[in-house]
Amino acid sequence: MSKKFVEDFKVAENIALNSSNFLIKLVSPKKLPDIKPGQFVNIEVKNSDEIFLRRPFSIFEIDYQKNTLSLIIKILGRGSKKLTELKAGDTVNLVYPLGKSFTIPQSDDRILLIGGGSGVAPMLFLAKESGLNRENVDILLGARSREDHVDASEYSKYGNLHFTTEDGSFGEKGFVIHHSVFQQINSYSKVYTCGPDAMMRAVAKTAKDEDIFCEVSLENLMACGFGVCLCCIEPTQKGNLCVCTEGPVFNIKELKW
């Protein structure tokens, strides 16, 4: 158990990355606690009658000097839509920091980070925090089409960027598992992935077959986010575990995939 907070943040900026993804930077009046890649916040959606519960989002960037925390929000339904309408100066309430982080790589690791859809944020955060030279970090991002990709060019300082699109409009054509770097999965000592279930399962299957260390970050439906409701469970080798407290990051060996 570790200290958690319920805190009002101010929206510093809200930038449309493309038609469905928004980068929302929040600033806290207080000093931020230590936050690691893979951890998330549970954010309140205000002024909405139909939206009762908070919505969980991975932490994308953190700046301890400026006390800012950023999220990448992809529009899925009502809550995410409403959050992307936030304006600079608006107040939002967060429960944070939640969940466990990815295993931080060791200095001799070569890692492959695979992100898709709403799972891009924690992958880029991990790339930045990996502590590795960029030549030992490959970042593979998948999307349907060119316009669905977010501009990650800034992250090329932390790793080599690779892209796939289903229609071939950008990067290699196909799903992430069809990409040429994924074909070389054996050259990595650790593989990390976050994104749509089908994508993570496909990555996990290959990693398991090849016996490569692989962590996935799950996005199960959540009510509380801090372990009291038991709604977010995932069946594991150790029984049903709460994704919000025992995860969201799991080693694929723990899962029943």
Binding site: M1, S2, K3, K4, F5, V6, E44, D49, E50, I51, F52, L53, R54, N93, V95, N220, L221, A223, C224, G225, F226, G227, V228, C229, L230, C231, I233, E234, P235, G239, N240, T245
Partner: protein, 303 residues
């Protein structure tokens, strides 16, 4: 200073605000946010004799002003609780109440006997109202003879404060309340969740793996309040009220309707500090209305 103390039979509470079972874990999770010693009491997660995995995912669905859950009493069983969890939490400075569940009367008795041995557990809440299990659970709480039988048998083996938690999924909740009072219940708590359902119209599938589940949150508050009022007028034992309480005003409504104490459930998912804010809110209300004690509110609805 206003006096917030209330008494549920032998159980003395520093204030009337408890956290509801299944919404506050084993209290430990709340200590990540604040000192649980501030709370009137904590109702621990529903416990059964043996390990239960609960129902398959998905177990929850958001609904208008509330949510449905179908957790299905996932827990590791009473022995695991006694060996592994109880030693960690027993020194918390608030009464910890075990929520006792079973699929047979014998199981309720066995769990109760084990809890009776625990010094730091001053009361149990007998859950005869869980809508999310196939056997036992709510089936005990929706007919007078079975509610009487389980209360009577548990009363025989338990000498501390016995609270019986009632199901709202009945035609007349006062009948069940009177039945368990007649068998020696020291208090009744109400309500548990209402049986409900939600559908994804696009996919044409139920949103819960179990199709139906328990509705909680502000959506149920007016019905819960009505039931507390009815039960308060039907029994002599103290009533513990809950159902959709989100703030101090909601809690005070339940006290006015006759609840000696309240439980806060689903609100904790929105903000774990809500129970603490409610305590402060009740204090402020009493000061503002120049009242000395919270007992001046209980059942004092002006007609």
């Amino acid at each position: 200073m206003v006096d917030l103390n209330v008494k549920i039979h032998d159980l003395e509470l520093k204030n009337p605000v408890m956290t509801a079972s299944g919404t506050s874990g084993f209290a430990e999770e709340l200590t990540d946010f604040y000192d649980v010693g501030q709370l009137g009491a904590v109702l621990l997660k529903g416990t059964t004799l043996k390990n239960r995995d609960g129902n398959p995912y998905p177990r929850m669905a958001e609904t208008a002003s509330g949510m449905l859950n179908a957790v299905g009493l996932q827990n590791k069983g009473i022995d695991y609780f006694i060996e592994n969890i109880y030693p960690r939490i027993k020194e918390y400075n608030t009464p910890l109440i075990v929520n006792v569940n079973g699929s047979t009367v014998e199981e309720y008795i066995e769990v109760t006997e084990k809890v009776n041995e625990l010094d730091k557990i001053p009361a149990i809440e007998l859950n005869i109202s869980c809508p999310n299990v196939k056997e036992g659970g709510m089936s005990f709480g929706i007919s007078c003879p079975s509610a009487e039988a389980v209360t009577r048998e548990v009363r025989r083996v338990y000498d501390k404060t016995l609270i019986v938690k009632l199901s709202p999924n009945v035609t007349d909740i006062t009948e069940i309340a009177k039945a368990v009072e007649g068998q020696g219940a020291d208090s009744v708590s109400l309500v548990n969740t209402f049986l409900g359902m939600a559908i994804d119209s696009e996919k044409r599938i139920p949103l819960l793996s179990t199709v139906t589940g328990g509705l909680s949150g502000p959506a149920i508050k007016p019905i819960a309040l009505r039931m507390v009022w009815q039960v308060y007028n039907a029994v002599k034992i103290p009533v513990i009220g809950m159902g959709g309480i989100m703030n101090a005003a909601d809690a005070i409504e339940f006290l006015l309707a006759g609840a000696t104490a309240v439980q806060v459930g689903t609100a904790i998912f929105k903000d774990p500090f809500i129970p603490v804010k409610i305590i402060t809110g009740i204090e402020e209300y009493l000061t503002r209305h120049k009242m000395q004690s919270v007992n001046e509110l209980i059942g004092c609805l002006q007609m």
